[in-house]
């Protein structure tokens, strides 16, 4: 499963795009352009990028709370402009301006997302059930956090997916905190992948800062699911660089997260780690990397401009949004 130079370049491009887009969102909220809230995913991009870049376009993805799923969404072909416009409350947004923090693009296997944490598990089961029935070898990939793993919905869904041998890949972003709650006080085992034991699933634990490691682990689980062999769990050890939400305190319980912990993880920035590796392996040159970063910045600047220039929704949308014909 060695990646080609082009594939490695694509992974780097998606990491760079994700970071730049997250920065645009953080700034957009600070400037009062974005409505509602934003939960930055900076530091965790390798999970979304490694997990989604090489999925089939028709695979189902439940994107993640962090970054409101932007790294997952754009890695699978989703539109940054539609994502940003939605967050800016515009009619051109992914949800026609009705969802604010939500994203949808059924043509790319993004059928929606909920802010009630733990909602990821049951709905993924339904997508996987549909995939199993239709025989198209689609896979449903469910991204969830260590916080979500505290919900009872995980147990019902993992159990049922296993007994029904559904094509699911459960991918955990274990970033060590659920809002302000440290994992050590929320779960008696440091590995979320330990749920593989009761529910009889193959488990893989990877360095979530290593985009290639995430890619390989997820793709192995996807291949197994596509072959009809049932669900797997992939746990990615990662960390969020910013506070839980923009404007929220960056705390563990009620005290600041340990500065030495934050500093140690910041050295393991997935973007920097991969950049260094590509240079060392002479896959990309400094110039090529700079060009990719500049293109990502230009793409996100254009997407943000589109959002700013888009009109606000009008109530006529209510007529068609509530019920289907």
């Amino acid at each position: 499963m060695t990646l080609t130079r082009d594939q490695l370049k694509t992974l780097y491009t998606n990491l760079s795009r994700s970071r730049r887009m997250d920065e645009v969102m953080v700034q957009g909220l600070a400037d009062g352009k974005a409505v509602s809230f934003f939960h930055s995913g900076q530091g965790e991009e390798a999970v979304g990028v490694g997990g989604c870049t090489f999925l089939r376009p028709d695979d189902f993805v439940y994107s993640h709370h962090r970054g409101h799923g932007l790294s997952h969404i754009i890695s699978k072909g989703g539109s940054p402009a539609a994502f940003i416009a939605e967050h800016y409350g515009k009619a051109t947004g992914a949800c026609n301006g009705l969802g604010a923090i939500h994203f949808v693009d059924p043509s790319l296997g993004f059928f929606g997302f909920s802010g009630t944490i733990g909602s990821a598990f049951p709905v993924t089961l339904g997508w996987a059930l549909a995939a199993k029935k239709n025989g198209r070898q689609q896979v449903a990939v469910c991204f969830f956090g260590d916080g979500a793993s505290n919900r009872g919905t995980l147990h019902e869904a993992m159990n049922m997916a296993s007994v029904m041998k559904l094509p699911v890949v459960w991918v955990c972003h274990n970033n060590l905190y659920a809002q302000f709650m440290p994992l050590a006080d929320a779960f008696p085992n440091e590995d979320i992948a330990s749920f593989g034991v009761p529910y009889c699933m193959p488990t893989t634990i990877v360095d979530g800062q290593d985009v290639v490691a995430v890619h390989e682990a997820v793709q192995a689980a996807v291949a197994r699911a596509r072959a009809g062999e049932g669900p797997s769990i992939v746990e990615c050890k990662t960390y969020r660089f910013r506070a839980h939400a923009e404007g929220a305190p960056d705390v563990s319980h009620y005290q600041l997260r340990p500065p030495e912990e934050v500093a140690a993880w910041r050295k393991r920035d997935p973007l920097l780690l991969f950049r260094q590796r590509l240079l060392e392996d002479e896959i990309l040159s400094e110039t090529e990397i700079e060009r990719i970063d500049a293109e990502a910045a230009a793409e996100m600047e254009a997407a943000e401009k589109f959002a700013m220039e888009s009109p606000s929704p009008v109530p006529a949308i209510f007529e068609t949004a509530l019920f289907s014909e």
Binding site: S36, G97, G99, H102, M181, Y254, P313
Partner: protein
């Protein structure tokens, strides 16, 4: 009287009740830091055994409060957003609400389920609800909704001292609202089932809850000299002080009810029906209800098209008086 923010008034109520009764404890996701500031600084004084951060597990939070209450404690469980109480719907609506009755009245459930209600922050359909009607509809749950710092403190203290399950909704957009609250050495308690006339008037009775009380006071102020509006805040919807509302309608002959939840099958429908049942003869015009449109609350700026606004209340008041009140 000193003036403090609504959020601090609630915090004072928690401090005083935690100090007053060692059976009281606070439990929920991130209550130590306090997502909305209501429960902040409690852990420093009372310690992590009485101000308990939990895993992200609403079912378990509700269940712990529900179980501990019948075993002799007086828990206050916080759900952050009011929308999230539905995640623990089984424990709150099916179990807690019915438990005492289903067991012949042999156990008591002295607990508070509290959460931040309301829209206006453009947070979309899952973080903006005001689920007043569902709670009011469910026998076995009391429901308190303060509109002022005084009521926030007094009702929360009553809620904690009540021997029954109380759902306590505090409004996100009132957290920083300042108002008079008695000095710390006075026991500020607001009894349940006693409505408060926030503004007296003679022409129209407006019953409102939560943030809508402030919309009503604003509209009443703007109409000063053209129509005399009596604004009544029931403060608790279960128990409901229908007598104060009926007495007011017997004086004014006109009724408008405004609440932030979805209009259909809502608080307005219930209160208007009770007034019709009790005082049909007193009504000079068909009562009006003002609430959210029969739609989920959208995110972004368009939410104001769905949530009830002061202009909607003005239109309803004009309908009951039968004339335009514009200047």
């Amino acid at each position: 009287m000193r003036e403090i923010p609504y959020r601090i008034a609630m915090n004072e109520a928690l401090v005083e009740e935690l100090a007053r009764d060692e059976r009281v404890f606070v439990i929920g996701e991130d209550v130590q830091a306090g997502t909305f500031g209501v429960t902040s600084q409690l852990v420093q004084r009372f310690g992590p055994d009485r101000v308990m951060d939990t895993p992200l597990s609403e079912t378990a939070v509700a269940g712990s409060a529900f179980g501990a209450a019948m075993a002799g404690y007086r828990p206050v469980a916080d759900f952050m957003f009011a929308d999230f109480i539905f995640i623990a719907g089984n424990e709150i609506l099916i179990n807690t609400a019915k438990w005492r009755f289903a067991h012949g009245g042999k156990v008591s459930l002295p607990l508070v389920f509290m959460a931040a209600m309301g829209g206006g922050a453009r947070n979309g359909p899952e973080h903006s609800q005001s689920p007043e009607a569902v709670i009011m509809h469910t026998p076995g749950l009391k429901l308190a909704i303060p509109s002022t710092p005084f009521d926030a403190k007094g009702l929360l203290k009553s809620a904690i001292r009540d021997n029954n399950p109380v759902v306590f909704f505090y409004h996100k957009r009132l957290l920083g609202f300042r108002g008079p609250v008695p000095e710390l050495d006075e026991d500020c308690v607001v009894p349940f089932g006693v409505a408060d006339i926030k503004r007296p008037g003679d022409d129209v009775t407006v019953v409102a809850t939560g943030l809508m009380v402030h919309h009503a006071l604003r509209v009443a102020g703007e109409l000063d000299g053209r129509a005399s509006i009596e604004v009544i805040d029931p403060r608790t919807l279960e128990p409901l002080d229908i007598d104060t509302i009926v007495k007011s309608v017997r004086k004014t002959g006109r009724l408008v009810v405004m609440d932030e939840d979805t209009t259909r099958c809502g608080v307005g429908a219930e209160i208007i029906t009770q007034v019709i049942e009790n005082a049909f003869d007193a009504l000079d015009a068909p009562p009006q209800r003002v609430g959210a449109a029969n739609l989920p609350i959208p995110g972004g700026y368009i939410e104001q098209e769905v949530l009830p606004q002061p202009a909607n209340l003005l239109a309803a008041i004009e309908a009951v008086v039968g004339k335009s009140l514009k200047v």
